[in-house]
């Protein structure tokens, strides 16, 4: 593979992420990795559901009393939108439009950052109420599940920021196309996990 190979939108392959051997490996490998991540989150979900509202006698905090759906709804919207903007970015990746791809990825990162800030706010708020990590088995399971997701978001943000700045001057080539594509896979995965968290933790917590 030659980094200096110049492409035009016409010569750019239809699926640039799969155009190189390394890209194909990365594609399969990352899907498998996500398979493992599914199991990881499944274990966290199972533990959360088992320990939901479990604590020492006279447990002070429960899902009903704690969660506020409006905030979580805004967070959900931010993350869902960021998934959409990353789809636009991938559209431009395939069309060999580097500038627009970078721009949409910038939006994605911005929305992701907004989500993360709100999550930090949420956690700080809970801790302020006294719902600390060691408050109960429930609090440990809650912070671990939601926090692991938040950590994934943070990793994704660092990743995309590095990619955006790293490639700002070199433009799109077959070497970094698969890197961008892998990021978008990851970002969609994070989004899907959040949908489950929103349902299983927040909605079922407040309603159920």
């Amino acid at each position: 593979m030659d980094l200096n190979q110049k492409f035009t939108p016409e010569t750019w392959p239809e699926k640039p992420e799969l155009a190189t051997f390394e890209g194909k490996n990365k594609f399969v490998g990352f899907w498998l990795f996500l398979g493992g991540e599914v199991i990881l989150f499944a274990t966290l979900f199972a533990t959360y559901l088992a320990l939901k509202n479990k604590g020492p006698e006279g447990l002070e905090f429960t899902t009903q009393g704690l969660f506020e759906l409006p905030l979580v709804f805004v967070m959900t919207m931010l993350l869902l939108t960021s998934s959409l903007t990353s789809v636009y970015a991938m559209y431009h990746l395939r069309n060999f439009n580097f500038r627009k791809m970078q721009l949409w990825l910038g939006f994605t990162a911005f929305l992701g950052l907004g989500f993360l800030m709100l999550e930090v706010y949420e956690f700080v708020h809970y801790v302020g109420l006294g719902f600390t990590y060691g408050n109960s088995a429930f609090s440990s399971a809650f912070y671990t599940l939601v926090g692991t997701h938040g950590f994934h978001v943070a990793i994704g943000l660092v990743w995309i920021t590095l990619l955006i700045f790293r490639n700002a001057k070199r433009g799109l080539n077959l070497y970094n196309a698969s890197k961008y594509y892998t990021f978008s896979l990851y970002w969609h995965f994070i989004d899907v996990v959040w949908v489950f968290i929103f349902t299983a933790v927040y909605l079922m917590g407040v309603v159920g």
Binding site: G35, L40, T47, A137, A141, Y175
Partner: protein, 624 residues
């Protein structure tokens, strides 16, 4: 490569091994690392058996004994058996499918260094105030109340090694999916490649639960979480479920590659195609699948209720069917063959009755009501040693002799190999057969001593004598390995003369690019087919001679693993020292920076020019 390195001096040689991304060298590193821990775990086992030689023995204190059993189990499973098998997978599997390397050479190296640093971390506990002492299963309630940092060494050390294993698993999967040589369809893959594939898939789904479980344990002990503290609403049974959802597949992750090894050895030394190849493949897949359905049979006495126990009992027994299929296929492979009893074949032959005995006692324990008696008694100790030593370790020893010439380019001494075998084999049965009866006679497992007058003395004595025989066998093997390495008599491509799969169609050891040209595969046992049709080299190229693309070596995997290693100490000593937290942050930052360097630096690899390959081929003179 190695001759070039010798000229460079020791520093360059060391640097070469620390930065290597060559699957064959990483295979050797895994093998040697695993062998080191195998000896360590063996010493722990001997101390256990010496303590139990006589009743009411006071050689080893109760606390130390619990550390020994914990470390023996943990070391043997995570740091010896798995890495040694990974060594063979790395060294052999890419050759068997005609690939140049694994899919992600960098991650391969990272996986190795994570394992190595995890193993070192775990064993530093001996010097830092005591090893983990809650058993290799580290059941919570005991594990969260265990004083000192022993269990922290366990949870953090395994977290490191486990992450490495997960990476390697994904790597092998992608390698097999994407990098098979032309003509190497799935149903032409050698059984060792197949079992590597299924074991890797199981790693992918079994290790994340372990990661989560260890995370819970670490955070319960060090960061104030309450997953397992029942006074705070936690639940210790969750740990048992998580551990065994990982732990049971883990058993199959170990035994399947061993099955693969024997499925290579039987056809080779019986000069006969593996009987029922298709059903062998399906049996492997089925075992892998069922392996995830039976974890609760480790928990029959936990009180899950009759219905759960009954379901898991029947599911457990079902695994006997595909396993039986495998046994009979091996028997029918040697039936009508031309059996040559080499050392690897000797191990393979010994494997069948040994493993069958371990298998049938497994079915007995699958019968839940009977398991109420056998669970946590010496019967279970006998059972799992029959499967793991009689299956996995015999497989490892067989593969060591079988693939030694391919990995190191010289043959182990056959006579000494057989001496090792007889000591080990007799010692093994002597040690563990009698332990079934100790279980029947009411002896619980994990006891640091036992009172006189319970009828257990003679059996324990015999068991310990057997352990000494096994130890002698292993010592002879080590001597054998050293002697042959010193002599270093080079061997041909196929030193056994009966090789059937692609690894025997290239040099021993292979050049760093494996095959000068990518091979063409025309069927199962492709080398055998070629040879039968008169092609002495057993090799038909699929492409014309061309430049070969190879990856660069890198020190980053070593640095990344090292960062996590020191972060582990930071996390552990965070509460009682001032330097704990800064060290934790520093270690994580270090790893992050190393990772960023990797991600920011373009590494496109390099090309081996055609001329150099031609020269290599001329120098090696083709077939020896």
């Amino acid at each position: 490569m190695s001759s070039v390195a010798q000229k460079k001096g020791f520093g360059a040689w060391l640097w070469d091994w620390m930065t290597t991304v060559d699957h064959k060298k990483i295979g050797i590193l895994y093998f040697l690392g695993g062998a080191f821990f195998f000896v360590l775990g063996g010493i722990e086992a001997m101390m256990i058996r010496i303590q139990l030689l006589n009743p009411e023995s006071t050689l080893i204190s109760a606390g130390l004994f619990n550390q020994l059993i914990t470390m023996h189990g943990t070391t043997m499973i995570f740091l010896a058996a798995m890495p040694i098998l990974f060594g063979f997978m790395n060294a052999i599997m890419p050759l068997q499918i005609g690939a140049r390397d694994v899919a992600f050479p960098f991650i391969n190296s990272l996986g190795f260094w994570m394992f190595m640093f995890g193993g070192i971390f775990l064993n530093i506990s001996w010097l830092a105030g005591g090893a983990p002492d809650a058993g290799w299963t580290s059941y919570t309630s005991l594990a969260i109340t265990s004083p000192g940092h022993g269990v922290d060494f366990y949870s953090i050390g395994l977290q490191l090694a486990g992450a490495g294993t997960l990476m390697s698993g994904i790597n092998f999967l992608v390698t097999i999916i994407n990098m098979r040589a032309p003509g190497m369809t799935y149903m032409r893959m050698p059984l060792f490649t197949w079992t590597t594939f299924i074991a890797s898939a199981m790693i992918l789904f079994a290790f994340p639960p372990l990661t989560v479980g260890l995370f819970f344990l670490t955070f319960d002990r060090l960061f104030g979480a309450n997953f397992f503290d029942h006074t705070m609403g936690g639940n210790t049974i969750i740990w048992e479920h998580i551990f065994w959802i990982f732990g049971h597949p883990e058993v199959y992750i170990l035994i399947l590659p061993a099955f693969g090894i024997f499925s290579e050895i039987f056809p080779t030394f019986a000069k006969k195609r593996l009987f029922g190849y298709t059903s062998m493949v399906f049996a492997t897949v089925l075992i892998g699948f069922l392996g995830f359905m039976v974890w609760a049979h480790h928990m029959f006495t936990v009180g899950l209720g009759s219905t759960a126990n009954a379901i898991f009992a029947v599911a457990t027994m079902a695994i006997a069917v595909p396993t039986g299929v495998k046994i009979f296929n091996w028997l029918l492979t040697i039936w009508g063959g031309s059996i040559k009893v080499t050392t690897p074949m000797l191990y393979a032959i010994a494997f069948i009755p040994s493993f069958v005995m371990g298998g049938v006692t497994g079915v007995m324990q699958g019968a839940a009501p009977l398991d109420y008696q056998l669970h946590d008694s010496y019967f279970i100790v006998a059972h799992f040693h029959y499967v793991i030593v009689g299956g996995v370790v015999l497989g490892i020893l067989a593969a060591t002799h079988y693939w030694w010439p391919k990995m190191f380019g010289t043959m182990l001494n056959e006579k000494l190999g057989k001496v090792t075998f007889w000591f080990f084999f007799i010692g093994f049965h002597m040690t563990f057969l009698i332990q079934h009866w100790l279980g029947f006679w009411g002896m619980p497992r994990r006891v640091f001593t036992y009172m006189d007058g319970q009828g257990w003395n003679l059996a324990n004595y015999i068991s310990t004598v057997g352990a000494f025989l096994m130890a002698i066998g292993v010592i002879v093997l080590v001597i054998n390995a050293i002697m042959t390495t010193v002599k270093n008599e080079p061997v041909a491509n196929d030193p056994w003369g009966d090789g059937r799969t692609l690894e025997w169609a290239t040099q021993s050891p292979p050049l760093y690019y494996n095959f000068p040209q990518t091979p063409l595969v025309r069927g199962l046992d492709t080398v055998w087919i070629e040879k039968q049709e008169g092609n002495k080299s057993g090799f038909t190229p699929a492409v014309p001679l061309q430049d070969i693309h190879m990856p660069h070596g890198s020190i980053i995997p070593f640095l990344m693993s090292f960062g996590l290693f020191i972060a582990g100490f930071g996390a552990m000593y965070r509460l009682e020292t001032a330097w704990g937290l800064p060290l934790l942050i520093f270690g994580l930052l270090w790893t992050f920076v190393a990772m960023s360097v990797r991600s920011v630096k373009d590494d496109l690899g390099y090309y081996v020019p055609k001329e150099e390959i031609l020269e290599d081929m001329k120098r090696e003179g083709g077939q020896k």
